[in-house]
Symmetry: C2
C-alpha cells in the first residue's frame, strides 16, 4: 500500500481538505441499493464490505488502518452499489467525493500514475482472492491469506475472517490451533 500512502501525502500537500467522519461500532458507512461514490481513507480501526444474497452475508473485503475503501462497484461505474460497508469498531475515516478525488488525480500525470498503481494493486489482490475462493481446502485457504495479509488476523474479529475465508468460525478455530 505504498502507492496509497503516497497518494494520501500528495492530497495533503495539495491543500485539499479531507472531511472527517466517525462511525460507531456496527454503524453502516453505506448500504446496498444506494449511490455513494465517496472514497474513504480509514484513519483508525476497520470496516468490512459484504453483500447479501439469499439472506446470507458474503464478505468481500476489509478496510483497515491506512487503507482506502469505496463501494468499488459504485465508485468505478457510477451504478448503485450492491455492497454494504459497516464499521467493525468505532472507526474514523477521512473522505473525498469522487469528483474531488478525480480532479486531484487528473491534475498531474504523476498522480494519475499513482492512482494507476493503486488500481493495479486492487487487481492483484482480487486475483489472489479469486484463487483463494477456488481452492477447496480450508487449511490451504487459511494459510494463503495468513501469509498474504497477516494484519487481518490482528485487526479483524474472528467471525468475520471466518466468513471471508468461507468457513465456519469453529473450522477456523480448529485450523488455528493445529
Amino acid at each position: 500500500m505504498e502507492s496509497y500512502q503516497a497518494l494520501r501525502t500528495h492530497i495533503h500537500n495539495e491543500g485539499i481538505i479531507i472531511k472527517k467522519k466517525t462511525f460507531k461500532r456496527e454503524e453502516f458507512l453505506k448500504v446496498a441499493n444506494t449511490l455513494d461514490t465517496n472514497i474513504y481513507f480509514i484513519e483508525s480501526e476497520s470496516v468490512r464490505v459484504f453483500f447479501i444474497e439469499n439472506l446470507e452475508e458474503h464478505t468481500l473485503y476489509f478496510g483497515h488502518s491506512n487503507s482506502i475503501i469505496t463501494a468499488l462497484d459504485s465508485f468505478l461505474s457510477n451504478r448503485k452499489t450492491a455492497l454494504e460497508i459497516q464499521a467493525l469498531k468505532k472507526t474514523e475515516v477521512g473522505y473525498l467525493t469522487k469528483k474531488e478525488f478525480l480532479d486531484f488525480v487528473n491534475s498531474k500525470p504523476v498522480y494519475l500514475k499513482l492512482w494507476n498503481e493503486v488500481l493495479k494493486e486492487i487487481i492483484i489482490h482480487q486475483l489472489d482472492r479469486e484463487k483463494d475462493l477456488l481452492i477447496p481446502s480450508t487449511e490451504q485457504r487459511y494459510q494463503r491469506v495468513l501469509k498474504r495479509k497477516p494484519e487481518l488476523f490482528q485487526e479483524i474479529p474472528h467471525k468475520y475472517i471466518a466468513s471471508y475465508l468461507r468457513m465456519a468460525p469453529e473450522t477456523l478455530s480448529r485450523i488455528k490451533k493445529s
Copy 2:
C-alpha cells in the same frame, strides 16, 4: 470493452508495430512458473486462463476476439506467473512487450487515462466474478454469467464454461435445458 478498442486504435495510429503470432489448438501461450509480461490482443478465436492446484484445473478467465489478455499476475507485478494460458482453437494474437506497451501508455495523458479505464473494467469484472464464486446456487451463477457475458456461450466450449462456473458439465447441460 470500448476502452480496449480505443487503445488498440491509438497504438495503430502511433505507428507502433504489433507483432503477430498464431497458436495451434490447445497450444500454450504461456505456462506457469515462467515470467512473460507480454500483453496480447486476441485477433481471432479464444484462449482460457487457468491455474493448477492439487492436480485440478481452475478456470480464471477467458480471452476472446477483441479482448486483451495477459498473465495478469506477471504483467502487473513482474513476478513469475502462476497462470497458464492456452489457445482453445487456432488463435491469432497480436502482442507487445510490457515495455513497449507502457512506453505507449505513458507517452500521453489521454492514453494513460484509457489504460486506467481498462484497469477499472478489470476490477469491475473481478468484483462480479468474486460475487459469482460466493453464490452457492449453480442456477444463479449460470444466470449471472449468461446475463453479463452472453458472448462466452457462443465462443467458449461447454466444458470450459462449466469449469469457469464451478460446476460439472452435466449440471450446466441440465440448467441450460430447464
